[in-house]
Amino acid sequence: MLKLPASIRVLERGWLSSNNVVLTGPEDTVLVDSGYLTHATQTLALVEHALADRGGRTLDRLVNTHCHSDHMGGNAALQRRYGCHTSVPAGEAPLIERWDEDALLLSYADQRAERFRVDATLAAGDRLRMGGIDWVAIAAPGHDTHALMFHSPEERILISGDALWEDGFGVLFPQLFGREATFAETRRTLDSIAALDVRCVIPGHGAPFEEVDAALERAYSRLHAFEEDPARLARHAARVMLTFALLEKQRLPLASLTDYVAQTRVLRDINQRFFAMTPQHFAEWIVHELERVRAAKREDGDLVPLVTA
């Protein structure tokens, strides 16, 4: 079992919700990332539970590694409950201020979040105090161009968001939408993690882990495979987007999928740019892929998620 300082509690969630990190310091309490909208009630209960363990304190601050639906979906509910001061990466603040549903991959990707208030912004190089520990914000472009990670040199811990998981990283969306620098940016992000002194990574999804070098190696080789064949990234993204929808809805009638992939703009755009299949063919292909990777199965005319437990 991995040992973290007592002031850090990782609320390990699934894939629809990112992990939430509760940091309780002598000065104040902070939460990093808030999960998905439809899980907000459980997020509130988990945060309350974690704070009760630390003497029943309030939540003073909320920080987001990046503003995707699975990381900011509980922000509004937490603000209502605690009035917590909320910081987002500087590059995302304008998108939040004008609630740009396309740039935030919300309605564009058939995902949801509730609008919230931004009190402050964070930029690479900023120093933060969370859980009685000093952290430095590190730029993490790739999966999200404006994303940040938080590194504690003293504890040698990295809160990596979706820039590095134990097995991979978040979908490189900007590349899919034409940001050609994305592969190079992702490589620089991995390089900057490799240059940090890190004994433990708290990822945005999955359990905290210590085998950082092995995770980096897997991430580099995945990146390399995407660079060699960008269509591979598109196939991966299509699988992830439909899995996300399936996890949110828990079942989708197979008969509805042709319309779903034709009408959900992120899937329509990926198909147009990389595959140019008919919607029906594209839908059949994704279902086949999800069955192949055991992310879903057919049941009574529906597609249902198969989360490996």
Binding site: H205, T243, T308
Partner: protein, 64 residues
Amino acid sequence: MKPAAAALDDGVPSPCIDVCKMNGDTGYCEGCLRTIGEIAGWSTYSDCQKRAVLERLPARQTPC
């Protein structure tokens, strides 16, 4: 975000299936059947404690 995939490490995988809604009557998550304390504490548990939680779950299934 990431599609469902088996945990990479040999550790005990979380039983979360992304339903993540507490049942007010039973006090268990409607997806994974853990209590809020078991979910909040999961990342602090040893593999042995995690397995003990997993073993308690089947008995919590409501008979239909």
